[in-house]
Symmetry: C2
Subunit: 395 residues, 2 copies
C-alpha cells in the first residue's frame, strides 16, 4: 500500500479476495467492467472512504487490472489517503463539473473509459442505487456510444453478504458500542428530559466508542419518536420532553470503521398499558420462533414465516419485512439491499452472514421495536449485542 | 392542518406561498406536474420530514390541487404527522415493493398518476438529484406511456434561494449552534486528545442546541482531518490523537428544524509554520475583498473573481468554487445545488439569499478552512455566526 495511506481497515490481500469474488460474479453476469457508484461498494472494493458521495464519483472494476478511482479533483487526495491502489489509478475531474447544469461529470468519465480502452466493454452500472442518477445514465449513454450497458445493481452487494473474520471483529465492536448506547438511554431517560438532550447523549456515547475502539458515524441518524410520533417508522427528534405514560422507541446503531450494528429498544415511562405488554410478549415469542430458524441451510423466508405464524397466533399482524443484511455502509441506509426476511425470499443462509432482525410493530398510539443484530454461525445464530431483551420500563 | 400534526415548523400559509412560486416556475418551464424526489424539496413543498429517503418516495406537485405525498406504506404515518395536506393526499405502497428486484415502486407511482388523471401530463422529474435513480426513471417511462417527461432538476431548489423571515430565524438559530460547536472545540482541543472524543463533544454541543433551540442532525457529518489527512477535503475522523505541530480543520454545521448553518475553522496546536500564517493572511484578505462584493445586484461571479484576484496577489490559487447557497437540507449535502460562487456564474444576488462562503485551500501538508455563512441583506451582507475569524492557535 502507498506509504502515505491513513489508518487502513484491511490488508491489501482482503481487497484482492473481494475483487476475485466480484470478478467471478461479473463473468457469470456477462460484464467486463463495473462502474460502482454505491459508496459502500466503492469502499468494499477499494478502501475509499470520505463524505464525497454528494458529487458524482465511482470505482471502476475491470477484469484484468486494479480498480480505478474516479471523482472530483479535490477528493483525489482523499482517495490517495484511503485506497489500496497506486496513484496512477486515481483520476480527479475539474471543479467546473461540480453542480453545473452545462457540464456533466459523466462526460469526463466517458473520456476516462475511452482512455483505458474500455469503450467497447459490456459495462455494468448500478441502475437502482443512490448516487447513480437518471441524468448520469443518460449522459453516460450519450458519451459512451460503443459500450453495452447492463444493470449490475446488487452484484457487489451480494458478494458482501458473508463477512470475513476482520469484518466480524469490526461488527462486534459496533455491537459493543450500540449496547453502550442503549445502556446510556436507560441511565438518562426520565420524564421531562427534552428528547434532543437524550439524543446528544446517545451520539456522545456512540462516537466515544467502547473498549478503545472509536465510534464512526452510522449511516442513519437516531430515530427516537415518542407517543403518536412512534406510530410512524422514521421520525427523528425534536425537543419535546419525555412524558410519563408514553413509549419511545430508539432505533440506533453502533458503527466502527463503517461497519454497523443497529439495534432498537422501546422505553416506557410509567406503567405500560396491557396492550403494550401483550404486544411485547407476542413479539418476543415470535422472535424466539423466528431466530430458531436463523441457521445455515435455512432460507430467509423460513425466518419470516416462523415469525409471522407465531405473531399471528397472538393476534398481531406485521405487513413489512422483518429483517435485512447489515455490514459496511454509508448514508442513507445501513442495510445491504440484497435479501430480506420476508415470504418468498428463498436465499439460503450461510455462516458469516449478518442481519438486523427487525420485528417492529406499530400500534394505533405508539410503536414497539425490540430488534436483534445477529450473526449466522456454523450451526445456528448468535446475537451480536449484549443489550437485555424486552420492553424497557422506568416506573 | 390536521390536529394530529407534530411540531410544525411553518404555518400552512407559508407552504401555499412556496407552491405558488413553484407553480409560476412550472408554468414557465412547461410542466403540469412535478415529481419531487429530493427530500429537501419534498419538505419545502409539503412539510414532510423523516429519514425515509433510502426507499423510493416523492411529493407530486400538480397545478390545481394540493400536493400528494407518495412513499412506502409504513412511512405514510410519518407523512400524516408532518405534511400540511389532508390524509386523502397521502398514498403508501405495499412493503413487497421495498428492495425487491422483481417489483419496482415506480409501477405503483404510475398507477397513482393514472388514478389522478395525470397520465397525459407534461411531467417534470429531478433527473440529476440523489434518490431518483436511473432505474426509477426507466420504470416510470415504461409504466407511464402517455406522459411527456422533462428534467426539472433544480426547479424547486431555485425557488428556495430567497429565505422567508421564519427560515432566517431558523438559520440564525443554526448559526448560534455552530458558534457554540466551535467554542467547544477551542475549549477541548489539546495534544493527545483522540479525535473521536473531540467529535463526540462536537455532536453533543450541536444536538443540545443553544438558547432553548434544539439541534437537528446536519446533512453532513463533521469533517475533522488533521495533518496530511487535511490535504484531503472530505475525510471524517478516527481515533488518532491530536498532535502538536499539526493543523486540523473542522467543517461542521449547526442545524435547527432542518435549516443549516455550516462553518469551518482551522486549529493549529503549537506554533504554526510561516507558510500557514501566510496562507491564512492571504485567505483573510481575499475573504474581505470577496465579501465586499456580496451585496444585492452583484453577481455570484463578482464574489469569486474578487476572491481569486486577491488570493492570486498573495501567490495562492484555489481551483474550486468558493461558495454555495445553504438552507433546508437532508443528507448527503447541505448545499442547495443551484448557483455557485465561481467565474461564469452570473446569478444576481438578492436580499434574503444565504450562502456558505467557503474559501478552503489545501496545502501540500495540511488544509486551511476559515469559512463564513452569510445572509445577503438590503445593502450588503451579514455574517450569520459569531465565531471569531482567523486561525485558531493553541500553543
Amino acid at each position: 500500500m502507498p506509504s502515505s495511506r491513513t489508518s487502513p481497515s484491511f490488508p491489501d490481500s482482503e481487497y484482492h479476495d473481494r475483487i476475485e469474488k466480484s470478478r467471478a460474479a461479473m463473468e457469470a453476469a456477462g460484464f467486463d467492467l463495473l462502474i460502482l457508484s454505491d459508496p459502500s461498494n466503492m469502499a468494499w472494493i477499494s478502501g475509499y472512504d470520505g463524505w464525497s458521495f454528494y458529487v458524482h464519483q465511482a470505482v471502476l472494476l475491470p477484469m484484468d487490472q486494479d480498480p480505478v478511482w474516479w471523482g472530483r479533483g479535490i477528493d483525489s487526495t482523499g482517495a490517495m489517503r484511503t485506497v489500496f491502489m497506486e496513484e496512477d489509478d486515481i483520476h480527479g475531474y475539474d471543479d467546473t463539473y461540480v453542480m453545473n447544469p452545462d457540464k456533466h461529470p459523466m462526460a469526463d468519465l466517458a473520456r476516462l473509459i475511452d482512455a483505458y480502452g474500455w469503450s467497447g466493454c459490456r459495462i455494468g452500472v448500478e441502475m437502482d442505487n443512490y448516487y447513480f442518477s437518471a441524468r448520469a445514465y443518460e449522459e453516460l449513454l450519450k458519451h459512451c456510444k460503443g459500450a453495452a450497458f447492463g444493470d449490475c445493481t446488487g452484484l457487489v452487494n451480494w458478494q458482501r453478504a458473508v463477512k470475513s473474520d476482520t469484518e466480524i471483529i469490526y461488527m462486534r465492536r459496533a455491537a459493543d458500542i450500540v449496547t453502550a448506547m442503549h445502556e446510556r438511554i436507560v441511565e438518562m431517560a426520565e420524564p421531562g428530559l427534552p428528547k434532543n438532550q437524550l439524543v446528544a447523549e446517545i451520539y456522545h456515547t456512540g462516537i466515544s466508542g467502547v473498549g478503545g475502539h472509536f465510534g464512526d458515524y452510522p449511516a442513519i441518524v437516531p430515530m427516537a419518536p415518542s407517543g403518536l410520533d412512534a406510530t410512524a417508522a422514521h421520525l427523528t427528534w425534536d425537543d419535546t420532553p419525555l412524558r410519563t405514560g408514553e413509549s419511545t422507541f430508539f432505533e440506533i446503531a453502533g458503527c466502527h470503521r463503517r461497519y454497523h450494528c443497529p439495534q432498537s429498544r422501546t422505553l416506557f415511562l410509567g406503567k405500560p398499558p396491557q396492550k403494550y405488554l401483550d404486544a411485547q410478549a407476542a413479539v418476543e415469542e415470535a422472535t424466539e420462533a423466528a431466530l430458531e430458524q436463523a441457521k445455515p441451510g435455512n432460507r430467509c423466508e423460513d425466518v419470516a414465516n416462523a415469525f409471522n405464524a407465531e405473531l399471528g397466533r397472538h393476534g398481531f399482524i406485521k405487513d413489512s419485512r422483518c429483517g435485512y443484511p447489515i455490514g459496511l455502509s454509508y448514508p442513507p441506509d445501513w442495510g445491504e439491499r440484497t435479501m430480506s426476511f420476508r415470504a418468498g425470499d428463498r436465499t439460503i443462509l450461510e455462516p458469516g452472514m449478518t442481519f438486523h432482525f427487525m420485528p417492529a410493530i406499530w400500534l394505533d398510539d405508539g410503536g414497539l421495536e425490540t430488534t436483534e443484530p445477529i450473526l449466522i454461525t456454523g450451526t445456528g445464530h448468535e446475537k451480536l449485542a449484549g443489550t437485555p431483551s424486552g420492553l424497557v420500563v422506568k416506573d
